[in-house]
Amino acid sequence: MKLLRIAFGLVIVFAASWAAARVATDKRRSGHQDMGEALQKMQDDDTANPGMLFVQLGGQFWAKAAGAADKSCADCHGSAATSMKGVAARYPAIPQGAEAPLDLEGRINLCRTENQKAERLPPESRELLALEAYVAHQSRGMPIAPPADPRLGAFRARGAEIYRARQGQLNLSCAICHDDNAGKKLAGVTIPEAHPTGYPIYRLEWQALGSLKRRLRNCLVGIRAEAYAYDAPEYVMLELFLMDRARGMTLESPGVRP
């Protein structure tokens, strides 16, 4: 009995040290670590993080009835604190009965058209971003955990292809900056590793909350490529790849970025 207890204790010790070693060898850096101390404090303080204003707003939209069905999100999903916990950590995913993966905002809009019988919310609209921030906030602190759905593989592979393909007048790929030169400077700014850990983010440059889609469009314009249309599947594929690349990293939504 005693031997068993010692063996069990040893297993725990090994497991803990293995986990610690894994964390120590994980060299990936969230954009949070590359920011100045002031901005880090701004994000970490819930009453100084402007993203929390949108989380608060999203909570109000969550409880507000919409559409011909006159139902609110809360009527079906109840308290978001329980029903939406972990959702943002695993999206994009393929919803039941669908063929292609959807990101979080796509899923919110699907719920609106299917269940609330309401109109789709336009991309980057305040209501959509607020709802997205509210849902994503429920997963804050959880590790990013993309689902094991085998159907996602092909989409993810296409995302990886886009990530590594050169495009635009500057003929750059995402990987050239964010894999090969991450941590170095582009003008005065540190090039981040592009892990989508804090979306939707409050970007000080935008003075507003913005989605990963907006950020990707920003980068595409930066390399002078033509940004995909707002409803293009390429964004979801890229997000699938990026979320898989950031697997296990902690979700910080809503993040603050310069």
Binding site: D45, D46, T47, A48, L53, A208
Partner: protein, 106 residues
């Protein structure tokens, strides 16, 4: 729908200096920017922010178009007596937002 986040201590020692922080959701539209059709978007800013402690003014400021969207204000006050701190934002388009926090002084 006004969205405000206030950070103030619930209790304070008499004579202690406390920090009060307030964040409000507001576009702070400057009135200088053209919109999609080239027409100037009308100015929509917060013009004044005031804070009172039991109706005595402890802090006030005028805001201008150069202040960012969702302005964050932080200020200090001396805790003299228990009471209500009333924060008030007023501005364009008839904006009046009021938020109250109670601070107990021991």
């Amino acid at each position: 729908m006004a969205n405000v986040l206030v950070n103030a201590p619930k209790t304070a020692k008499r004579g202690a200096v406390v920090e009060i922080k307030a964040l409000i959701l507001h576009p702070m539209e400057t009135g200088f920017r053209p919109g999609t059709m080239g027409k100037i978007i009308p100015r929509n800013i917060i013009e004044r922010f005031t804070a009172t402690w039991n109706d005595a003014e402890i802090f006030s400021m005028d805001m201008s178009p150069a202040i960012s969207a969702n302005p964050f204000v932080s200020f200090f006050a001396m805790a003299a007596e228990s009471g209500t701190v009333r924060l008030r934002w007023t501005g364009d388009e008839g904006l009046v937002v009021e938020e109250r926090v109670a601070i107990a002084v021991e």
